[in-house]
Subunit: 242 residues, 3 copies
């Protein structure tokens, strides 16, 4: 894909790898990474995002424009976590020389390079009215209970939850139950890793992507709790703040 | 290696990573990746390819020129899959300050940077008459049988076979036998993943590198069939086309 | 982190990945990689090195200047293996908008970009008198015994030892004992992999980072010997040279 970009755009287009660690075929996983990286990229940048279990089917490709940044991706829900105003266009139909199995290289990379060279290229595209958006599981609160799910397990085993500071307004988590086990596990709510009273405590703290996360100092919280992305959890809280 | 390139050539030489996933010491695996990426790179580009179990031995380094693109590599067969006209030169003998264990950094990266800065540098090199070429197992047809082998197993578990569209002219595969097992496994020949009648079918389809590949929708065909790179398979076919 | 760099510095700052394979939280492992790469990078380059188990604590960030190259890192010992003159400054205190869990992106990447754009930025920083340096285990010799430890196990399973050519002056290793086992294992001392008399011999040879390393042709010496980074070994030698 990088070779195809450089072949089209020449060497003046700097290319960086954001991640190659999205689980094969896991669109929600890719959506999370896109959501995490995009706000930090420069305005005018073009992000090529390909998690594409539907390659070869009739699903279309799209270009999205979100907060001044372009995304080129299959229209399969990868942009589902980008909230707020977003504009989308259809990618032109594939040429006949295109492979049926590697659209990332033959279709998406070439379009990304075209936009990098000339952002005005999108004005020739047809608008896409209803891009596919995946239904994200709801995060909700009922009394002293907060229902959330695991969005992502990072390299350190921290579990990034779907709960934001809005969800935790006047709610201080004190314990956790996982779907697989009704036992309540005590939680220590802290503002950063280093406020933990004991190093063995299971922590809940605000993470760097705007979500709260579960962590164990120096160990994998995901392994300890048996949690995977998509798992549902229930937090029990009391009135208070972090 | 990238540090060594930038130290020689300065910051105006853009550097991209093609892959770091070649199995340690597996020259054929590297040859496949080089073959897959090279046609997509810009003309005039320099590809540094190092899979080098013979580092420290008397094997030489080479520069190859193939369809307008340069390759710097050990002379150990890495260029074996580049078919058609190719020109090769010997790399100059190593200086005394060179390490005996990391020629990638101390020899090949520096030469690649020299060519990137000045492609004319190759005119000072001695021609290499007979670069080492690995004998690739033959792919052949006898009646309704086609003998091939697995070139590569990709990240999704698809098995890229040595068979090309020339090999499959008027030949529509209907079943497969692996070396380890004489049982015939039914195959569905399709033009893309999404033409599979049942999702559980083992598919054979044209892949993006010019070879046919075996695939299972959403699962690893390699694991299902117990196939590894190098394994031999026999396809049984009937007259027809994809 | 790369997104944050480009957002600050614009596209004229080339960014390369040195490694993403440092074991999570292992500062010594990161220190070894920094030590290995830094001398090969161009003068004036800025290396962003983040292995940061102390994120969110009161540990400070630093800028180091070593042989004409800048390093931006947490002040936690990552620079411990850079020997000789080094100048260090304190990074300015974090702004309030900074995450408590991802200083790599929010603090270090931004500072690295500032220095890349304007190296003179460091003149506004306060000097750091005593950066944290980890105590590295001593490598020492007593008679015909040399005590060393494993600095790093590379991708091929080679064990890079803490012993340098100074340590091995007039000392030719003939056998090895590991901490876990007092049995002596014969060693063949060679100048490069291809001087091994038998392919099954355990070799000791000068490596590409200035340290001696243990190797087995085509196999993992670390697995064969049960060695991990940090393990202590004892070499028995006789008078002689490689």
């Amino acid at each position: 894909m990088k070779a195809a970009i450089l072949s089209f755009s020449g060497y003046d287009t700097p290319v960086i790898d954001l991640t190659h660690e999205v689980e094969p075929g896991n669109i929600l996983h890719g959506a999370f990474h896109l959501f995490s990286a995009l706000p930090h990229l420069p305005e005018g940048s073009v992000t090529l995002a390909v998690v594409d279990p539907g390659v070869g089917s009739s699903r279309m490709g799209l270009v999205a424009f979100w907060r001044g940044r372009f995304v080129v991706a299959p229209d399969n829900g990868l942009i589902s976590m980008l909230s707020g105003p977003i504009k989308t266009w259809k990618l032109p139909p594939e040429g006949s020389s295109t492979s049926k199995t590697f659209h990332g290289r033959d279709v998406f990379a070439v379009c990304a390079a075209k936009i990098a060279v000339n952002p005005g290229w999108t004005s020739f595209l047809e608008e896409l009215e209803n891009p596919l958006l995946l239904e994200l599981p709801e995060t909700s609160r009922r009394g002293n209970l907060l229902f959330a799910h695991v969005l992502h397990v990072d390299n350190f085993g921290n579990c990034i939850l779907s709960a934001t500071s809005d969800d935790l307004k006047e709610f201080l988590p004190v314990s956790l139950a996982t779907g697989s086990d009704s036992a309540e596990i005590s939680l220590v709510a802290v503002e950063s890793y280093y406020q933990s009273p004991e190093t063995d405590s299971l922590l809940i703290l605000p993470g760097s992507q705007g979500f709260y996360e579960l962590a164990l100092n120096g160990r994998s919280a995901a392994e300890y709790l048996g949690l995977l992305p998509g798992c549902c959890i229930t937090l029990t809280g009391k009135r208070g703040s972090f």
